[in-house]
């Protein structure tokens, strides 16, 4: 169990800043997801922890040990690559045993540890196969076993699930999480998939343009995104510009008066998640109720998405239970409602 701390870590390239003063404390045994779109600096951050990218500024400590100046092979991190990076000329067992060989572990002990690691990822039968004889999911397990067998101080995962199909992705996600818990490992996981990050991590750090925009539990990120970017990236599709006119009152630029919670005094945007919008039956009331015309309908199975054109200008996207949406028709006039607590107040500016 090891704590990992990034303290004001930056990476500057000749013409750009890839990572900009990232500070992050990852408590021992916690699973952290670095979430963001491609180019946000999340992979660079991970590679700085692994030691493949030199930090321009800042300090990285693993278990209190300053590793900023240490080369990758002295850091004792277990890294799982996006493309797995299995050694094609070595068998599964030899791949998994590589780190032990490098540490000079005696043969017998190494063999036993490799066997345990393979058992953990349920691959003991395939120990003598070569990587190219394995399926993508199996290769992924080998990569995981190889990173785990060295008992790393921190497990680093660089989009490890992105090359798997949807079903396998779910399965591996659960398995990685279970292994990390069982071994009480500190882990950093890089992904651009919000659902994946929320499902697997204790803490999510949303990154944008080289900076960490928000750190919190999945619930905190989801319920109270602190910036417009975090809100949009985590699925707040409906954003209405305007201003707070009184505690709990927001007036949009096109004159709509909306209710929000009074706790946040400022904000030039009011955001609502599509799934928080509900179809109001005639006569029902809600903190916020707006009427409009259905302009598009998409049936997705469990839910349906409807786009509703408000007379004042903006369109709202609502995600409704499919059985409710079934009665809707294009062009129908509907009333959408949401509670004041679902109104998210955001600053328009980034950062």
């Amino acid at each position: 169990m090891t704590e990992v701390v990034l303290d004001g870590v930056s990476k500057h390239y000749a013409e750009m800043v890839a990572v900009d003063r990232v500070s992050l404390r990852i408590p021992a045994g916690q699973f952290v997801a670095l979430l963001g779109p491609s180019g946000c600096g999340k992979t660079t951050t991970l590679r700085m922890v692994a030691g493949f990218v030199d930090a321009t500024q800042g300090r990285i400590t693993i278990g209190g040990r300053d590793v900023t100046q240490l080369p990758p092979w002295r850091r004792n991190t277990g890294l799982v690559f996006q493309n797995y990076a299995l050694f094609p000329h070595r068998t599964v067992a030899q791949n998994v045993g590589f780190g032990l060989q490098m540490r000079g572990i005696p043969r017998a002990e190494a063999a036993a540890r490799v066997a345990t690691a393979l058992q953990r990822v349920k691959l003991q039968e395939l120990a003598d196969r070569l990587p190219k004889q394995l399926s993508g999911g199996q290769q992924q397990r080998v990569a995981l076993a190889r990173a785990l067998v060295i008992e790393p101080d921190v497990l680093l995962l660089d989009e490890p699930l992105s090359n798997l199909d949807a079903r396998l992705r779910l399965e591996m996600r659960t398995e990685i999480r279970a292994l990390q818990r069982a071994l009480e490992l500190t882990a950093i996981f890089v992904t651009h998939d919000q659902e994946e990050a929320f499902a697997i991590a204790d803490i999510v750090a949303v990154m944008h343009r080289g900076q960490v925009e928000q750190v919190g539990t999945p619930a905190e990120i989801y319920e109270t995104p602190s910036t417009r970017f975090v809100a949009e990236f985590t699925g707040v599709h409906n954003l209405l510009p305007g201003r707070v006119t009184a505690p709990g009152r927001f007036e949009t630029t096109d004159g709509l008066g909306l209710a929000c919670t009074a706790s946040r005094p400022l904000g030039s945007l009011l955001g609502v998640r599509p799934e928080r919008l509900a179809l109001l039956p005639a006569g029902a009331t809600a903190d916020n109720a707006v009427a409009g015309q259905v302009v598009s309908l998409a049936y997705l199975g469990a839910v349906a998405e409807a786009e509703v054109q408000l007379p004042s200008g903006p369109r709202l996207l609502a995600r409704l239970p499919a059985h409710q949406a079934a009665v809707l028709a294009m062009g129908a006039t509907v009333t959408l409602g949401w509670p004041a607590s679902a109104s998210l107040l955001l600053e328009d500016a980034h950062g």
Binding site: G51, L79, F81, K132, I150
Partner: protein, 286 residues
């Protein structure tokens, strides 16, 4: 194109195939037949079915010496090419800046396209008794008249310079295929750069090492301009000897036999090396 019959598409290769048959295979067959004839001074040769030309090669210490010189010169030059070329190829394969990479490729390829005559001429100028090297050695006060022209080391140096681009290009293309993330994986598992190289990069690049050494060895074995120009009249390698027999001595049967010895030794060694490698790496090298 979907409508064309893929069996008929094969007919497009017929002219090229006939051309090879007519201008390569038939002449080789004819020359092989000649190698079984008997040399008759004055009238070129007389029809026979004898192995005495090959026997002469085996019996005559001079020609065995020529073959031996050719073998060790080529082997040494190839080995030096491998040792010098590998780091350069690795450096090129790991260079990510596109401009630098193009520049490096051009720097290696341009000399390759200049021909052996011009490059050998340059080495004559460098290695001669009044050459650049001698001037340099003299200026440093290390000795006078330091010439390597018409010596075996001179030929090896010139051969290395002629063959090195082939080695570098071959190794580079294989090393490009060894993903950098494999090296990183090794390092993240505790391997120092040296260990990552020995355990991962080197084994994965062996097919390229084999391809590069075979190519260089074949080219060295058959080099003509370099031994003639840099080696001079006293340094004998196989290719010039074949030329001398066929074109100057007009001893076609023996010249033909020498040519076949040269070809068999060269191709035999390369094929043997290939088979050896294939057996060892069949499992993963596909």
């Amino acid at each position: 194109m979907g409508a064309t019959n893929p069996n008929r598409t094969g007919l497009l290769a017929v002219p090229a195939g006939l051309f090879v048959a007519l201008f390569l295979l038939a002449p080789l067959a004819l020359m092989f037949r000649y190698s079984l004839n008997r040399f008759a001074p004055g009238e070129m040769m007389e029809q026979a079915l004898t192995l005495e030309n090959y026997g002469k090669f085996l019996a005559d210490g001079y020609y065995q010496g020529v073959l031996w010189t050719t073998l060790w010169t080529s082997g040494l030059a190839t080995l030096i090419c491998l040792v010098l070329g590998y780091p350069v190829a690795w450096f090129m394969a790991r260079t990510t800046a596109p401009r630098l990479k193009s520049l490096l490729v051009i720097a290696i390829v341009v000399p390759l396209l200049m021909g052996n005559a011009v490059r050998s001429a340059a080495w004559m100028v460098v290695l001669g008794e009044k050459g650049m090297l001698a001037a340099l050695v003299g200026a440093l006060g290390l000795g006078e008249r330091f010439g390597l022209l018409y010596t075996a080391p001179g030929v090896v140096i010139a051969l290395v310079s002629v063959l090195l681009p082939f080695m570098i290009i071959t190794l580079q293309s294989v090393l490009e295929g060894v993903s950098h993330s494999l090296e990183e994986a090794a390092m993240s598992l505790g391997a120092s750069p040296r260990a990552a190289f020995v355990q991962v990069v080197l084994p994965l690049s062996l097919p390229g090492v084999l391809a590069g050494t075979s190519l260089c060895f074949i080219l060295a074995m058959n080099a003509y301009a370099t031994p003639v120009l840099v080696g001079g009249p006293q340094f004998h390698m196989m290719a010039p000897t074949v030329y001398q027999q066929v074109s100057k001595a007009m001893n076609w049967p023996f010249g033909a036999a020498l040519a076949f010895v040269l070809m068999s030794v060269t191709l035999g060694l390369s094929i043997a090396a290939n088979l050896l490698m294939q057996r060892r790496y069949r499992r993963w090298a596909e």
